[in-house]
Symmetry: C2
Subunit: 323 residues, 2 copies
Amino acid sequence: MDKVFVTGVAGFIGSNLADRLLAEGKTVVGWDNFSTGQQEFLQAAQNNPKFKLVVGDCLDLSALTQAMAGCDFVFHLAANADVRFGLDHPHKDFQQNATATFNVLEAMRANRIKGIAFSSTGSVYGESEIIPTPENAPFPVQTSLYGASKLAGEGFIHAYCEGYGLEGYIFRFVSILGERYTHGHVLDFYKQLVARPDLLKILGDGTQKKSYLYIGDCLNAMLQVVAQGTAQRAGHRVETYNLGTDEYVQVNDSVRFICQALDLKPKLEYSGGNKGWVGDNPFIFLDTKKIRATGWETTLTIEQSVVRTLQWLQQNPWVLQRR
Amino acid sequence: MDKVFVTGVAGFIGSNLADRLLAEGKTVVGWDNFSTGQQEFLQAAQNNPKFKLVVGDCLDLSALTQAMAGCDFVFHLAANADVRFGLDHPHKDFQQNATATFNVLEAMRANRIKGIAFSSTGSVYGESEIIPTPENAPFPVQTSLYGASKLAGEGFIHAYCEGYGLEGYIFRFVSILGERYTHGHVLDFYKQLVARPDLLKILGDGTQKKSYLYIGDCLNAMLQVVAQGTAQRAGHRVETYNLGTDEYVQVNDSVRFICQALDLKPKLEYSGGNKGWVGDNPFIFLDTKKIRATGWETTLTIEQSVVRTLQWLQQNPWVLQRR
């Protein structure tokens, strides 16, 4: 892995990954359509001569194929990550997650690139009956368009790896926190409290259990697994890893972490019910034995990750103005 | 279910289904792009005033949406069923199976149609370690583009049923035999023997185990489950059923059935290996307890199905000339 192609490079995870790869001395070609990516996240990378940014959309297969030329590994992180409003525009999940992944695979095939890492999601397990949920849980039932579209991406990665001899790494993430975090409940809560420090509106009843992982730990896991080449070592075409912490919190815990860190005592107003929205999973908690068996471990707890996220948001108030 | 939309209506399964639905007094709107469908299969249907054929491709969402207007249930059978050559043109599986299914769901949503039955495949289990393979087998690894693209379709059906309140039935087929069978090993072997009765070339070593189901039994299962409304009864949005016999045969058995039925003793020439082609599954055998629990049972054995298929091929020599 010398020249790495990163889709979604201007996003939360992509931009952090690019910085890490550049720090390791790799050449990075970054690809983003800036639908949700932020130019600000690439300031450090763009000062590095080993970084090249190509603006484009994964739906444009010919531009994608051209941009990928000469690369030897792909981190495919571009996605429609707007999980919550999937039902308002189902074509977004289909195109930006399913079709985009198919196009990435086609562009790789045209360029004879043999390795891919893919950011999937714990949502592919739907509402699993087995918790914590291991990678080989029973055949899942999709409860969200986001999960369905990521599952579609996973399936095509498998078929391409089997059929065309690629090596694939699929990472099923819980929600990620940390520097450059730009959507999710910590931002929603922080925004509310900046606007009105005495009131916090909470979707659901606050008892929804959630699992989070710090971006630095997420990148450690991905980079380590790819460097180890665990698929090849195991004689597999594809290896799939859950990425998460072995703890979880309730939304109410998270509210407490945030209020403590900000030194606020707002009135809490709950919308009620045990789901935040249709397709929201009341409890997503992944079994992470497999990734831990590679020697990986987390460096921050969920509470520490929430605090780190808040610190970054406080240092980057411009984020609150962005979509 | 009064006015039924059938995609892939000119295909093997679709045309047989249309005849059955018409015999039950339903109104049928049939949809086909005739990429592999046969006008001949619709001769009976087209003499029925309750049948309407619309020629179109599932990739044309606006035409599809228009054609579906007024229907109250959809059997989505249109697919790229060219499993074997998937690796030669991966976009076919993606477009005709994944995108097509997404478009069918979007057209249903636009027309407020609340029920769908989908022809999936036992290939979604990849090379399962559990045989016979139940519906809730461990999270599958896709070994073919066909399986991956059908899995994508399944996932979106789940997400639409959950998110938009549809009722869905997913049927994972083994290979289907019987009247109007137009591709697969029985046709390949029959074609060879018509051209040259003294030699039969067999992919693999002949020990590949395969499971088959008679088209009449396949239709009985689908129609019965939909009529029973098993999903609603169970309080589920989607029910998934394996459809197959509880027996399997080796390719060599099938060769024997065919040679006996045709009264031929050709020299057998094997290409060797235990797989017919990359992505071919050496053993696909589904656990059918769930569909049997609905009261359904098979009427023909695999041997009887092979013989029935041969009889139909002998009565319809024009099929040998078609792609």
